[in-house]
């Protein structure tokens, strides 16, 4: 689905990502873990097209998207969520999602037909809200949603554009146990329908969700494998997990 070859990014003397190879298989949840400063966010910015890579190629769904911009990658079906919640606070949950649908449904120079009763926008929006378990909160103004719900809403906005693949940047950040449990359920329910690349600190969530895990340390991918393989991997234990996790 997504094939990254030899991707690199330097900021002055610092190498943020160094010759990274990742191969995300269609339908899997692929997690990227690593200590702080390992270059995870840089990597996701490179993948989403917001940051230009120095070298390397990105193949998405069989075509080379190395040179595509962020918005055209998004239109090709590579959707991302942000580390910081970024929704429209004064819109309702459903309006938020409907707007995301609208953005992917051609231009918005339509001046007359009411958008709120437009089934082309509302139907996919409701479906997406259902998928993340927010159907009952559809009419609540986003700023009145809990933090966890707002993150769910972001996932719904990404889903509503019917992407082939989701890039999720720490979807559990700042969540309590209960909330992140709900997020894990949501992501689990998407498994198989959609390919997900996930960056996350919450190890319990990662090991519960991921089919495969890539460990990033100092910008290098030091290991890739199933959760069990990663748990057993000596290098990873040394470099990252430490003994208390074993």
């Amino acid at each position: 689905m997504l094939e990254v070859k030899g991707m690199q990014k330097r900021f002055g003397g610092i190498v943020a990502t160094d010759n990274v190879h990742i191969d995300v298989v269609k339908g899997e949840i692929h997690a990227i873990i690593g200590p702080n400063g390992a270059g995870k966010t840089t990597l996701i910015n490179q993948l989403s097209g917001e940051m230009k890579s120095d070298t390397g190629t990105v193949l998405f769904d069989g075509s080379d998207i190395t040179r595509e911009s962020a918005s055209s990658r998004s239109l090709l079906g590579l959707a991302r969520s942000f580390q910081i919640t970024s929704i429209f606070q004064d819109f309702t949950a459903e309006d938020n999602v409907a707007l995301a649908v609208q953005a992917h449904d051609g231009h918005s120079f339509r001046f007359w037909k009411p958008a709120r009763s437009d089934a082309r926008l509302r139907q996919p929006a409701r479906t997406a809200l259902e998928k993340v378990g927010l159907a009952e909160r559809a009419d609540i103004v986003a700023s009145n949603l809990s933090h966890g719900e707002q993150r769910q809403l972001e996932i719904a906005m990404a889903l509503a554009t019917q992407p082939k693949m989701l890039l999720l940047d720490e979807p559990m950040a700042g969540m309590g146990t209960l909330e992140s449990g709900r997020m894990v359920d949501t992501l689990k329910s998407l498994k198989g329908d959609i390919t997900i690349l996930l960056i996350e600190h919450d190890m319990d969530a990662v090991f519960a969700l991921a089919d495969r895990i890539t460990v990033l340390v100092y910008g290098r991918a030091i290991a890739t494998g199933s959760p069990d393989e990663i748990r057993a991997n000596e290098d990873v234990r040394q470099a990252y997990l430490g003994d208390d996790h074993a």
Binding site: F82, F109, F111, A115, N144
Partner: protein, 335 residues
Amino acid sequence: MTLSLRTIVPAAVLVLLGLVPVIAGAIDEPFYIDLFSRMLILAIGASSLNLLLGYGGMVSFGHAVYLGIGAYVVGIFSFHSVEDGIEWMASGYVQIPAALIASAVFGLIIGAISLRTRGVYFIMITLAFAQMVYFLGVGIEYYGADDGLTLYGRSEFGDWLDLNESSTLYYVCFVALLLTLFVSYKLINSRFGIAIRSIKSNERRTRAIGIPSYRYRLTCFVIAATICGFAGALLANRTDFVSPDMMHWTRSGDLIIMVVLGGMGTLFGPLLGTVGFLLVEEILSSYTEYWQLFFGPLLILIVIFGKGGIDGLIQALANLVERKPKAAAQSRDGA
């Protein structure tokens, strides 16, 4: 939209405005028709500004310029129709479209440059452009400079519509206001309107989800300018006179006050705000010549303590009456 106080009050105001010529005729005070036709026209101008201010988050401090441009087109056409004997220039069927086109063109130029900037820069640059057009009016001696131009005649629409008849002109303005409100209602609820409002809410995010904000903001700017130019064309007909003073920067300030006073980002807010503004002006100035001495501080108090303007007040009243919980008060209804 449910039948709430928030729709009943504006509806009542509209009905009353619709009856003004009848009432004025009954009590034999034709002067009121003149007073209230100004109210209608300014309400159109304020509604157009509301598209920018209330829905698009664009604080334009030069909106009165389009009033002036619309008015000047009518004034200049009328001038040439008599001075140079060009008869078709007296026709309203020519003047009105010309006024719309001229204000749209100015809106496009001013908007295209101003919208490259953000925040305070935008406020100041729209103010400065308005000042520039104002000085253009002051500088052109041919069209009367700062003394302005007196209309030779009002826009001619043929026998069926005689604008010299003051109640006819009044109803033209009234219908124009209804039309403006209807068009605004359709606009703000269309996909375009949603896009504009999302830009106001969170512009960076809007661009991130794939809506290029600049072109939508610019389109909104041009639409608002055009509607306001329409109001200007009516204003010229009402006053039989155009002058640079119509686009003085304080006029732009007045329009902002009307929008905020009534309730920004609400369909009827600008109408209520215009009615409120002009009534306060009438009342205060009937007591003292120095009415602005009181209006200035009143404005400051409204800004500091008032939230949501008259519309917000009605909303609060309605909640008090119906004892609605506060959360429901934050209705998502854009109207």
